[in-house]
């Protein structure tokens, strides 16, 4: 079952903050976040692992609440380059190592 993302879309002015949420009904091993700009391939942003480890390289932060099976992506002091569709991908571990189930996406528009 796909994770549920919210909101579906958000419009921000440059410098504003936003939070994107990703919820699963199943226990998770990791959560991945990707951003896709219009007409381009999705690009990796971050992995959050069970136990609190994070791997990422953007100025965008995220959290992972294992008990609630939820992850949140924080867009802080947004820049025009943050525009795009954000997808979370969840990995359940055990019999599904390496396989991600993606949410429907959150469209983010940052305006000047």
């Amino acid at each position: 079952q796909q994770p549920v993302q919210s909101p579906q879309a958000v419009i921000l002015r440059e410098g504003e903050d936003a939070v994107i949420n990703c919820s699963s009904s199943k226990a998770l091993y990791s959560v991945h976040w990707y951003r896709q700009k219009h007409g381009e391939a999705p690009v990796f942003l971050m992995i959050l692992l069970k136990g609190g480890e994070q791997k990422g390289h953007e100025k965008i932060s995220a959290s992972f609440n294992e008990k609630k099976q939820q992850s949140s992506l924080y867009l802080t002091a947004s820049q025009l380059s943050y525009s795009g569709t954000y997808f979370c991908g969840t990995e359940r571990g055990a019999d599904s190592w390496g396989k991600l189930q993606f949410g429907a996406g959150t469209q983010v528009v940052v305006t000047p």
């Binding site: 796909q2 999705p42 990796f44 692992l49 480890e53 990995e91 390496g98 396989k99």
Partner: protein, 116 residues
């Protein structure tokens, strides 16, 4: 830089045709994936391969098959294309799982397939 390439950006096929979508990665990744992307549904996994000649079904494998004869190449096959397979198809690759945690997936540019 990791590069994942797909054979076509746009493809138009007729109902009933056999369709081959090719994907090549140049980073010696063990894992390769095929997804389809539809508006409002995000990316859905069709098939996954973790080694040459090894494959696993994803969430929506019906109507599709795959082939991985060489490590760098992963093909998606539509045996008999139907109009409901009109979609954007994305290929991805990632390094093998090892130790703790999984690894980022690198995506190709996608193939927009239209079946008429």
């Amino acid at each position: 830089d990791v590069k994942v390439t797909q054979s076509s950006r746009y493809l138009v096929k007729r109902t009933g045709e056999k369709v081959f979508l090719e994907c090549v990665q140049d980073m010696d990744h063990e894992n390769m994936f095929w997804y389809r992307q539809d508006p409002g549904l995000g990316l859905r996994l069709i098939y996954f391969s973790y080694d040459v000649k090894m494959k696993e079904k994803g969430d929506i494998p019906e109507g599709y098959s795959v082939s991985r004869e060489k490590k760098e190449r992963f093909s998606l096959i539509l045996e008999s294309a139907s109009t409901n397979q009109t979609s954007m198809y994305l290929c991805a690759s990632s390094p093998i799982l090892g130790g703790r945690g999984s690894y980022e997936q690198y995506f190709g540019p996608g193939t927009r397939l239209t079946v008429t």
